[in-house]
Amino acid sequence: MNTQMNEVRSESEVNIPAFRLENMSIAYSGNVAVSGVTVDIPQKQLTALIGPSGCGKSTILRSLCRLNDLIPGVEISGRVELFRQDLRQMEAITVHRRVGMVFQRPNPFPKSIYENIALGLRVNGYRGKIDEMVERSLQQVALWDEVKDRLRSNALNLSGGQQQRLCIARALALQPEVILMDEPCSALDPIASLRIDNLLNQLKQFYTLVVVTHNLQQAARIADQVAFFNTNRAEGRIYGTLAEFGPVVQVFSEPQKQETYDYVNARSN
């Protein structure tokens, strides 16, 4: 058991990509949403997925942690690897623990702050001390000082920004390798989102982060790598493709493609 685990660990220390997507396409009940994506997402960096609405960036993100399993009628083709393992052959529960997810709107459970974090640990059979891990996770998102006196109060009483940090803490507690975020700041006020940005800048030293954002300024502030998805039209349907992938400086300053240039410059004045 332990040797197997160590194998996984040592493997992930070698510089292999966190995700490798090969010719991946996703369709909702026959309608292609995103098509032919091939990309390596490096580990221990923050990769931002940007593009106009309908380009499929959220769809891609959701299938990286197998959340599309919950939706009937979704078909995925091509290959997705998580640290060299075929993601779609793995057990969904395992994927969910290794790949955390933070959603667009904060979605704490209607339970106490403490319970929001402890629940995930308990169902997954955490061997350590739960109290300790709860505290540590809350400290990681800089929420501990704000809530330590009211861990038993309902999480829904927190402000939007605090709720979103709680949701990040909930994901961190499971000690994932990757954290995916779907427009994590779009429902927050400017101050709260700046605080999340700063948090992400710290977290990316330790975790692989993949963040969908519609806010190019945010992408420029936090990303190491940027994947730009664009919309295409065929027979009246709109679907997305990966137009450009590269380091943040390249995509924003010297994009290789005209469409990237147009998008980045039209939106960022």
Partner: protein, 653 residues
């Protein structure tokens, strides 16, 4: 482009609009009627109980252990006799309905593949559309023999190895509490399952995604997140179904029996409160006799029971809705704390340490499979029950159905098996006509006022009044129809006898109108609520007044749903038996009615009389009548379904 600012045609836009005012007054007047019905119900019960307790002492009513109103001497009115029977029959029904309903509801909300949900939901819910007299007929003539001839020997065989004497003492009466309870329970499964399904489905998807993203299985999500969030809905469902079960009349009467004896053995005949009211009404006791008043005394107890249960259920439901909406509101408020720095957290991080967790085992998964297995068995039970019943009626009855069965008068039949159903069919049609004339304008108008005007007035009181009326109407929908029958007797047959001329079609139709009015209001309100608010805003934005928005935009958009609600109410009325028996529907009329002031027969009442006959040929006529009734209801429901699916296309807006 040719835009000209010339000649703006503003129209007259004075603050006062005569149409607006009169539409408000008229609809508001209609909206008072449900409240009046509640007052009338309470008034009738209080008045008759007052007279009853003039003659029978309170103490005797609650302590006596016999119920013998028919005796000339030594009359006893011990309500506990009826209460115990009601609790036994109701308890059995709850034991069936609650577990099956909860499991099925959860399964349909969370696990069922979409094709199965599409098939199973209408099948299960069609049980609520089947008139209870049909279920009673089936329980009495088909299930009871199965219990007596198949189940009883089996149980005896098993028990005899333990206690021979006890095993031999077991016997099943032809009417018994067990059978009534089982069938009432099965018939009530859809009430529980649809409320539970709704409660579970209403838990926001964000929470499901949140828990899935933490690695929880479906079953774990269900136990830790969904059920706690939906618990008040589940409890509300149990309470509401209990109130229905205790008021169920026709199954209890036909299958449960009429013996008013204090006993605890469900294998014997036992009369519930509702069954007593029906049986006593059948005897048409003299107005103002003590027997007549005893009906109302029992009615009052039943009415109070359902009222209390329904109120408790509503409160739980309201608490639930409050919580559910609270959990959907994300407080996007500006942080007070303007410090946006994040402390250095390097020392705290433990990324990717998977060995801190036990591996996901098959055990966690297996709960999902066990639960699904149970649910499929539950679903199959209910579906089998339904198919068995319909098949049984069809097999017994189809040979009887021919042209003369449909057109002959009962009187022309020499042989019992040759009676026709022309009179009951015509009677039912007349009753429907009268009921629709009274109920449709009232119900739709009241719903429009309650939904489109009242809660939107800018007065502080209007929301409170609207909430109170909402509770009143939901109570009205929960009142057993036999109670409406009693109201009809007092109000239409006695008080307004100058107009209705007693136990006539007019009285029966008016009573049916009272029965379906709350259903119509509820259905119409939900149809109006489905009209997207963006359409109302569009109407206002082009300068319409409220009445114009309502009659040009909202009602036309909701029209198919409103019609479908009307059709479903009519099918309820068509199957309604208990209220009509109380009003005094005849077992035998030798002419076809041609005006509303005649005495009448009705199709479901006819089924009741035939089902309880001891002659097998007559019983078969009952089955044939059931097939005819089911055929009519099927057509009605199909039309309603068609209209509703057209409507759902619109609401994709």
């Amino acid at each position: 482009m040719t835009i000209t600012q010339a000649q703006p045609s503003r129209g007259s836009a004075s603050k006062f609009s005569i149409v607006e005012l009169s539409s408000r007054l008229f609809l508001g007047g209609l909206a008072i009627i449900p409240t009046l019905i509640v007052l009338a119900l309470v008034g009738v019960m209080v008045y008759e109980c007052y007279l009853f307790f003039q003659e029978v002492s309170f103490g005797a009513f609650f302590t006596a252990t016999e119920w013998t109103p028919q005796f000339e001497e030594n009359r006893n009115f011990g309500i506990q006799v009826l209460v115990v029977s009601t609790l036994i029959v109701g308890g059995i029904a709850l034991l069936v309905a609650v577990p099956l309903g909860i499991v099925i509801g959860i399964y349909l909300a969370e696990y069922a593949p979409s094709w199965l949900r599409l098939v199973a939901k209408p099948v299960i819910e069609s049980l609520t559309g089947i008139p209870t007299i049909v279920l009673g007929y089936f329980a009495f003539l088909t299930i009871t023999p199965v219990i007596a001839d198949v189940l009883l020997p089996l149980v005896r065989g098993v028990l005899s190895t333990v206690n021979q004497e006890f095993a031999d003492s077991l016997s099943v009466a032809s009417s018994n509490g067990l059978c009534a309870g089982l069938v009432i329970g099965l018939a009530s499964v859809p009430v529980v399952s649809s409320l539970v399904e709704e409660g579970i489905s209403n838990v926001p998807r964000r929470l499901r995604e949140g828990s899935a993203a933490l690695g929880m299985t479906k079953f774990e999500t269900l136990i830790h997140i969904l059920l706690p969030a939906a618990m008040p809905a589940v409890i509300g469902a149990i309470i509401l179904v209990a109130s229905r079960i205790f008021g169920e009349t026709m199954i209890a009467t036909v299958a449960g029996g009429a013996e008013t004896v204090l006993r605890f053995n469900p294998l014997e005949s036992m009369s519930t409160m509702a069954a007593y009211i029906l049986n006593a009404s059948l005897a048409t006791p003299e107005l103002d006799s003590i027997e007549f008043r005893s009906i109302f005394a029992v009615g009052a107890v039943l009415f109070l029971t359902t009222l209390v249960l329904n109120t408790v259920g509503n409160i739980t439901e309201a608490v639930y809705r409050h919580q559910a909406t609270a959990s959907q509101v994300v407080k996007v408020r500006v942080s007070d704390n303007l410090d946006i720095t994040v402390p250095d957290i390097g020392s705290l991080i433990v990324a990717g340490q998977q060995d801190g967790f036990r591996r996901a085992s098959g055990v966690r998964r297996s709960f999902d499979w066990v639960f699904q297995g149970l649910a499929v068995i539950a679903l199959a039970t209910v579906a089998a029950f339904l198919l068995w019943m319909l098949g049984d009626a069809l097999l017994k009855g189809y040979q009887q159905i021919n042209w003369s069965f449909l057109t002959a008068l009962p009187s022309s039949a020499r042989e019992a098996g040759e009676a026709g159903i022309a009179a009951p069919i015509m009677g039912s049609l007349w009753l429907m006509g009268v009921a629709l004339v009274f109920a449709v304008p009232t119900g739709v108008g009241a719903a429009v006022f309650l939904e489109e005007y009242l809660p939107k007035f800018r007065y502080a009181w209007s929301r409170k009044v609207s909430a109170v009326i909402e509770i009143l109407i939901s109570n009205l929908t929960a009142v057993p129809s036999i109670i409406y029958g009693l109201l009809g007797v007092e109000l239409f047959v006695r008080l307004l006898s100058d107009i209705t001329r007693g136990r006539t079609i007019l009285s029966g139709g008016a009573t049916l109108a009272v029965v379906i009015l709350p259903l119509l209001i509820v259905a119409t309100r939900s149809a109006l609520r489905d009209v997207p608010d963006s359409l109302r805003r569009a109407g206002y934005a082009v300068g319409m007044r409220p009445w114009q928005v309502i009659f040009f935009v909202v009602v036309p958009t909701a029209f198919p749903s409103i019609i479908s609600g009307i059709i479903l109410s009519v099918s309820t009325a068509l199957g309604e038996t208990a209220a009509l028996v109380a009003i005094g529907a005849k077992a035998f009329v030798s002419f076809l009615p041609d005006n509303v002031f005649q005495e009448f027969m009705a199709l479901p009442v006819q089924i009741y009389f035939w089902a309880t006959s001891s002659d097998p040929a007559t019983q078969r006529s009952g089955a044939a009548a059931i097939v005819v009734l089911a055929g009519i209801l099927l057509v009605f429901n199909a039309v309603a379904l068609l209209l509703r699916s057209r409507q759902s296309k619109l609401s994709v807006l």
